[in-house]
Symmetry: C2
Subunit: 432 residues, 2 copies
């Protein structure tokens, strides 16, 4: 008789064996036994490790609904930021500001810089929120949570920075514009060029400043100094852990600037030199940060690339839609009919890439696995690796250390040794 557990790590003698178990549906009910590739030991997110399919599925649905609501409600700070550009309204709301705002320097600051600052600060609050939402979505590893949060933040900022500024108005109003599929190009053609100067300013205020602050890391410096000041009496303050990069915030931010570049390059080419400076700065600064500052927390295995690809395809199709709208509005039917095949070809290219390259992002091929397995067969280190594998994954809930009461006694009674595997054959007294 074998003890039943809700979920477990299963180790295999070969990579190929693991891939077979991963790819094949194990039981007749597809949701009864779910196999997932085990994350690295330090990458496991334990809270959802034991959850059932239904629980995971429901939390996923709830999180998606919450994300949509959050995206819709986020428009309130955006509208406030936009209204700052209109000083007379602000003075009517807060009469005591009248004397201050009369000064040229301050009014320029308020209209030119403050809206962006407010928008940027509000947006900056979102990555932790989205990461929290992704963490309760049922993923079992930090890397998956980050990838999911990256996707959420990306669509959030595309919606709330690009579309909210372009189609300014209430969320329902925006939605009604986007639901009227036929008129989207025409609406975008009117709305997008009007916001060109705002987005050029956005590249400078948000892009340049954020990339420079990335170099200086002022916020982290202050935190570190505060911690040093507070905990100087506590245990060794010199042990500073190397920080890791927040992919779920850095990637969407760059993709948004990519989207701005692709959609505005033919409407307002002035945006291009600013973007060029941004990307050059980003290249230099992140190269430095990767070499000298950040330590990778997990091996992403290039799995963020499909997000970048999808965002690029979306940007291209959006650009085609805007171009189509502009040529229609300007009454150049020949130009607009030449544009029509472009989005179709782009989507076909996307579909072709999905077929040809996406499978490599989800699993290794049998050929690769078997080659690696054959190499490993002659590796004298393998027995040591297998013995380490048994104790590599430790569920904190099963660890007897944090419990000193009755629970802890039970835990230590069952799992007195960390090296005991979760599953082992046990003789039942009735069977002997």
């Amino acid at each position: 008789m074998v003890k039943q557990v809700r979920s477990a790590f299963v180790s295999f003698r070969s990579r190929y064996g693991a891939a077979v178990a991963l790819k094949l549906q194990q039981s007749e009910k597809p949701t009864e036994w779910i196999t997932e590739q085990a994350p690295e030991p330090n990458d496991v997110y334990w809270p959802f490790f034991h959850s059932s399919f239904l629980k995971t599925w429901i939390s996923k649905v709830v999180v998606i609904v919450t994300c949509i609501l959050l995206t819709a409600l986020f428009l309130i700070p955006v509208v406030i930021a936009q209204s700052l550009a209109n000083l007379t309204k602000l003075e009517a709301w807060f009469p005591f500001l009248e004397t201050i705002l009369a000064k040229t320097g301050i009014s320029q600051l308020v209209t030119g810089y403050l809206p962006n600052l407010i928008l940027h600060s509000c947006v900056k609050l979102m990555p932790p929120v989205m990461q929290f939402l992704s963490s309760i979505q049922g993923h079992i590893s930090y890397s998956e949570i980050q990838r999911s949060a990256c996707n959420k933040v990306l669509w959030f900022i595309i919606w709330n920075i690009f579309f909210a500024n372009v189609l300014s108005g209430s969320a329902l109003n925006q939605l009604s514009v986007l639901l009227d599929l036929k008129n989207i190009p025409a609406r975008l053609a009117v709305a997008v060029p009007a916001q060109a100067s705002f987005f050029v300013a956005y590249v400078v205020t948000s892009g340049w400043t954020s990339i420079s602050s990335e170099l200086v890391r002022v916020f982290q410096l202050i935190c570190s100094l505060l911690r040093k000041g507070c905990c100087c009496c506590a245990s060794a303050p010199d042990e500073i852990e190397a920080p890791y990069i927040a992919y779920h915030w850095e990637i969407p931010r760059m993709l948004l600037l990519g989207l701005l570049g692709i959609t505005y390059f033919f409407l307002a080419p002035l945006i291009l030199p600013f973007l060029l400076v941004y990307f050059l700065l980003a290249y230099i600064i992140f190269k430095n940060q990767f070499i000298h500052v950040y330590a990778p927390k997990f091996e992403s295995a290039g799995k963020f690339w499909p997000i970048v690809h999808n965002s690029m395809i979306f940007s291209l199709v959006l650009m085609h839609a805007i171009a189509l709208g502009i040529f229609t509005v300007k009454k150049v039917p020949s130009a607009s009919s030449i544009i029509v095949p472009l989005p179709i070809l782009t989507l076909l290219f996307h579909e072709y890439c999905r077929k040809c390259f996406l499978p490599n992002f989800t699993a290794y091929s049998a050929k690769t696995l078997i080659t690696k397995d054959r190499e490993d067969a002659h590796d004298p280190e393998m027995p040591k690796f297998f013995s380490q594998l048994v104790i590599a994954y430790k569920d904190p809930a099963l660890s007897p250390v944090p419990f000193s009461n009755f629970d802890g006694q039970i835990a230590s009674y069952f799992f007195d040794d960390h090296t005991t595997p979760l599953l082992y054959p046990r003789l039942d007294p009735s069977e002997v």
Copy 2:
């Protein structure tokens, strides 16, 4: 050295082994080695057996585009059928008909029955066309071609019978209605009830007559008599092959009537008794046909069910949209807000079914396969089965019979025996 072939049947000692080879991506390039489950020997469709991924993919794209064009252009006969209901227009076109149409009986026939007859005849031409399109799409088995054609015919008749009659007008006009997502419910709420009497008549004229003609099989009887008359001198005319059912025509036709029932039951409950009679007739007649007339051509393994499920979900969501529109048009905001969660819940149910049940339609579970393999291991018939397996699949292109010229000599030189497998190790003279 092994001879390279573009495609081959590979047989395995166990079902589990075959499933592993099927599920795992074989080479680093996902499109280099494509594994598909082999169809039954009499189910193989050879023309696309040797085609590459790119060729298959391009033909698929071309076929999809053709289908869309065909669906759009099919509106012409529909418009002609609809115009027959308007007799004055017809008399203006063909003045010599004036005297004939003046008689009450004939005018009733023309307005009441003829439009349906024309529509029905034109639609009946589509299944062979769609089957032809599916056959050049790259499928390697007749069953897959039928399934693909079934899907095509279903969406074709939903579009060209339901939507074309409801939103009567040009294809572009219809498309513009459907692209304006926000106003779909309101447009449907106005257009759908107006066509209630047409669809009640459609159930009787198209549904009842087609199901009755299914029993009599007049068309097949005439064909058979003609063949007997012509070929009485030719080889044994008594050898009549049992016919097989055209799933790609019968299933979409019933699903369309299901769609009519679901969308009209609250608008025109009069449709329900007619549909009830239709489905009772269909049950009795098809039960008889399956027992006494048809012989199955291939084992469908229940793979048509997802098409039925998808069509039902689509019908339900369409019904919710119409109800929402009607309550909005009739200004009952409380009722329309109660309707809103229904389509969302339906789609969630659909997604849940996709997760829980769809995997079982594509592959067997490892547990089932291993159980079956263990049963087979003790089966004394297995060696005989394996020896038959080698000669089960015969590519007609490799058969030496139809060739008597130079090509045939080459073929018979390489494959002088049908039992020689396609792949075998051969000693290269340079290596000896």
